[in-house]
Amino acid sequence: MSLPPKNVTVPAKRAAAPARGAVMDILAPRFTGSGQEYFRIWIVNLLLTLATLGVYSAWGKVRRLRYFERNTMLAGATFDFGGGPGAILRGRALALLLLVAYDVAFVLSFRLALAVAAALMLVVPWLMRSALRYRARHTTYRGLPFGFRGSVAGAYRAYLPPVAAVLLPVTLCAAVPDNPLAVLSLLPLLGWPAMHGAMLRYQHGHLSYGGHAARFEAPARRFFRPYLGALLVIAAGVALCLAAEAGLALLYAEKGWGSFEAAPPAVRWAWLALPVYLVLLLGGPFLQVRLANLVCSSITFPGMRLHCAMQARAYTRLLHATAVLTVLTLGLYRPFAAVRVYRYRLACMALHVHDDFEAISAGARRMRLHPPGLELSW
């Protein structure tokens, strides 16, 4: 039996020191779970979810969150999740109801569809805020819960533009597909990176812990760069596909095999799947890494700054390997993949502390949190 280590400090090999302020200590989070253990939780959750026609999924989500939080250690203490399944169940039932109403409304009348779309736009920001509050207030560290101080007005400012930017073209394209206005309604989506930035600012900038409020320092314009980078990666992949197709067409003509368009369907389908693969497994991870690094490294608490240094190449390799293994095992590798990805993400994170961590912790006190109200999540 031994005492927990007094100072769980990890040398800053992976993460470079932040630009501002002298760093006194660098704390690295650690994951103590395993793929094998999570597999057993996952398979039982899956079976019970299927057997109860989805109802158990809320309990399953609670168990999953609890497993990952309880196995995440920082400075000798674990995180914890104490939420119940009720809020998740209510949130999922409401989301299902809204989606069914949206679907049915289109069959009945255009006006009704517009009314349901408007209702969705009004409800989604409120739902998002509710879910953020639920997640924060039930996540604890060192015996204190996190808090979320985002206002209702802030939720509407953050979520209404992206929800409208998605719902408006979908609704118009479905209702009046021949009207050129329907296509024009896609234009606001060009501002998606800024809208995404605003959502992330709302999510992370209003967190609090023990009376310490978080700050989120990345301006919305900085979110265009990761998206542009991902677009370039995807464009390069698609260009490579097109060049290879031209090469294949030439080869077919030279060898006298006829035209490439007349190739067997399996070859054509494989060829079509390649760009999709490039988008999902090249552009996707690239964007995730750039956004995760930007978002995490922009979160500060008094005397502390989070730092994330994920590598696009390593993360892409990891996702490729786990995707292939998941397909080969008919999905059974999924929980092992989840653990490997989570462990990698944690290994790339560090908390840069500008003061004595224990002194900062001693100053974190239980605050009166907002009243629970109607809790919803999904």
Binding site: M1, S34, R40, I43, V44, L47, A75, G143, L144
Partner: protein, 121 residues
């Protein structure tokens, strides 16, 4: 009985304590304080193999016990009964049985869908 870390629930300061569960009482003894609770008031969280055991105390405080042997002793002293789903998840055989059941359910579902499609045809 066990070294643990203790959080009083009012602030995030870490206390290194000695945790004892004897004669129906839970005693938490730190450098400059001691607290006594009834064993029946302590609630042990669901155990995970690599994570410290977590003991929730009635005044909002909590103890985290890293040593697996101390965890087992604490569970015994508190009369902790593992929930059925957790027992299921802890054993490989039971998890594999769940996998077999899942495969059977999916197979049955697929056959039912095929039957329905045949009837519709």
């Amino acid at each position: 009985m066990a070294f643990a870390i203790f959080f009083d629930g009012d602030n995030a300061r870490l206390h290194r304590v000695d945790l004892q569960a004897v004669g129906g009482a839970l005693t938490v003894r730190g450098d400059d304080f001691a607290r006594i609770y009834l064993s029946t008031d302590g609630e042990l969280a669901e155990p995970f193999a690599g994570a410290p055991a977590v003991l929730y105390l009635p005044d909002g405080a909590r103890c985290e016990v890293a040593c697996p042997r101390a965890h087992a002793a604490l569970a015994e002293a508190l009369g902790y009964r593992t929930p059925r789903v957790v027992r299921w998840q802890e054993r490989w055989r039971a998890a594999l049985a769940a996998l077999a059941l899942l495969a059977a359910m999916l197979g049955w579902g697929a056959l039912s869908v095929l039957d329905v499609l045949q009837i519709l045809d």
